[in-house]
Symmetry: C4
Subunit: 213 residues, 4 copies
């Protein structure tokens, strides 16, 4: 278990540094987690306030299902409650949260409709269970909030209401996505960030592919 855990944290740290390089986790933004044990639940998650450009494997702590630190030093990310809800409701093995320019812009533009439909893109097929570009993906948008227990409750209700969703946006804040394992979560993140950039750059053009309804 120790080795597996250490390996996951090394992979998470590499991912974090690469997201920082792409501009998806500047400042101290972004947080990343992966399940290292199911029973009892142990979730490795980034400590709070770190520069993701030099993230290392020893900057993760292990939490139990209540968010109590069971291993490692440092304060877990302030958004720990959202990670735990996603792990519990979706059975996710990894949760990734980024703050990109395009997810921030798109989350504001579509906030009034509480989400956006994404449709007609081959890239959608990379989302688990999607078989065709004709798939319609609903990406919900939640109002941002500093009250974490309240926000976690809203996210839990959202996940149950949209069991087919592969991610969601926090308004003016960024993207959350997840996967059965870290590789799937990374795939979902790259796909959703790509699609948000396509939609963001297309948004003022009448003739763009009809991606929003």
């Amino acid at each position: 278990m120790a080795e597996k855990s250490s390996e996951i944290e090394t992979l998470l740290a590499e991912l974090g540094r690469s997201f920082h390089a792409r501009g998806w986790a500047l400042g101290t933004s972004g947080n990343f987690s992966a399940v290292v044990s199911r029973d009892p639940l142990r979730l490795a998650i980034t400590s709070t306030g770190l520069d993701k450009g030099c993230l290392t494997a020893d900057q993760f702590v292990h939490l139990d299902e209540s968010g109590t630190v069971k291993h490692g030093s440092g304060q877990p990310s302030a958004e720990t409650a959202l990670h735990l809800v996603i792990v519990r409701v979706r059975g996710a093995g990894a949760v990734l949260h980024t703050h990109s320019v395009w997810s921030t812009i798109v989350s504001g533009e579509h906030a009034a409709r509480h989400g956006l439909w994404i449709e007609g893109y081959e890239m959608l097929k990379g989302l688990e269970g999607v078989r065709s570009h004709t798939h319609r993906e609903w990406l919900p948008i939640v109002e941002n909030d500093q009250d974490m227990p309240k926000l976690a409750g809203i996210v839990e209700a959202l996940l149950k209401k949209h069991p087919e969703a592969h991610g969601f946006l926090l308004r003016g804040h960024g993207l959350y996505t997840w996967g059965d394992d870290l590789a799937q979560a990374k795939r979902h993140l790259e796909i959703l960030e790509f699609l948000l950039e396509v939609i963001g750059r297309s948004r003022r053009s009448e003739s763009a592919a009809s991606s929003q309804h």
Copy 2:
């Protein structure tokens, strides 16, 4: 032959990783192939579902002209039939397929006209056989389809109808291009991606170079 094959796959894997770094092959998108033998035909092609950010030479399989795997483990890319058609009809030595933000956007904007003219750019001269920036290049756009035999038939007809084309777009999906060898295919890819970005960024300006007719 074994050495030459191994060298080609090493080069294809490097290319794949560099395209991922540029954002042209995120998620598991993109697939790449090169002919390692003409008689009998052996085509090295990426296996399906790979993260191109860490593509390695051993993640390719060898196919014969019917698409049967003759070497290597793993399922060949779902778009194998398109690669084989291009190799057969064009005599290509390498085929590259990317999913960039700009090719996705431009493919949607020009879909109703089934393609776009590109003209007036010096960069066109890097396309094989083109001698002047005054050359008019027709870049066809095909509706995306999950029925691969059907799509391969449409692409075959398209290649025969436009024997001078250096590539084509699948709507909402991305760019296919090719070359006599891998270096030429890479050159064509960089040139077409560059031109699609120029056209995409110019599209709302009346005074832009008249690239579309």
Copy 3:
């Protein structure tokens, strides 16, 4: 002290090279400083006219509070007076100045109002002392001037008038920000550059998050 100083300059040089790679310090633009001693004040600052793409630790000079070079060869940056004012008025431990495309554009668009409000973005929470995305951050814009004593006086008055500001823009010139130490200054720089890009890219859209008042 010598070791600490050398370490700071190594970190500043790494930062400078990374900002150049992101396109935030092209040409010979940008200058960076950090306090290596408080009493007497010694400020390590980039020499003038350097290519930041290959910045090294030995390309810094040490100044006293009057701007006199006390250590190292080379002419200190022409904007030394601004760094010294920020260190004196804010008690900053590090000052970073970049010239990005978006800070240049946004500084021109909002110049008539002498600044812009930034509000509603989670990323604001990375600015020291900010606790919520509902925080309203005023980013002042100063007219650019080649008369450095005059400009330093204007900046000093500005810093005193807006004690809560985390940075300011020089019109058509770029961003200044700072922090208690180099890590905090880097965090503030990444956050403000991110927000300026979001605002610059959102500016023509009616439905964007209301970031400007």
Copy 4:
């Protein structure tokens, strides 16, 4: 001399690879030269048709003032005549030519006026001899042409008509700039590419800094 020449070519090759990484020299676009001897004139220049992403020091040839190859194998760049004119008329020690997305777009948008004024940007101060952001820089635009002797004649007349210019654009083709030595030419290139991106991204906004007249 041999060592100095070899060093210059190593630096030119590094520059070429870095411009390719930034997307300023995709396909086989871009060419780069530096004077390795003044009397007799020997100009090291990239051979034609190279992938700049893997440019090496041995891919340069040495020319005399008439364009005859005196050293090295390979065909010199097709645009050799432009490099030689710039070296002769300006006394340049290095000439750099890139094809960026923004220089291509801006060269089309301003072609009818045969150039554009750039004014009000601090970045202008990095151009040799410029002392203030209030400087007005005229960046001429020349119609692209495949007749190289004719184009070289036009460029020669242009350089004499605008002795203060630090570069020029070829329409739909890209940017030429130069410097007394390679470091100055690189500085001019980064500055002009930066300013063209600022102008290109600002162009549809009424409130942008007044950079065009």
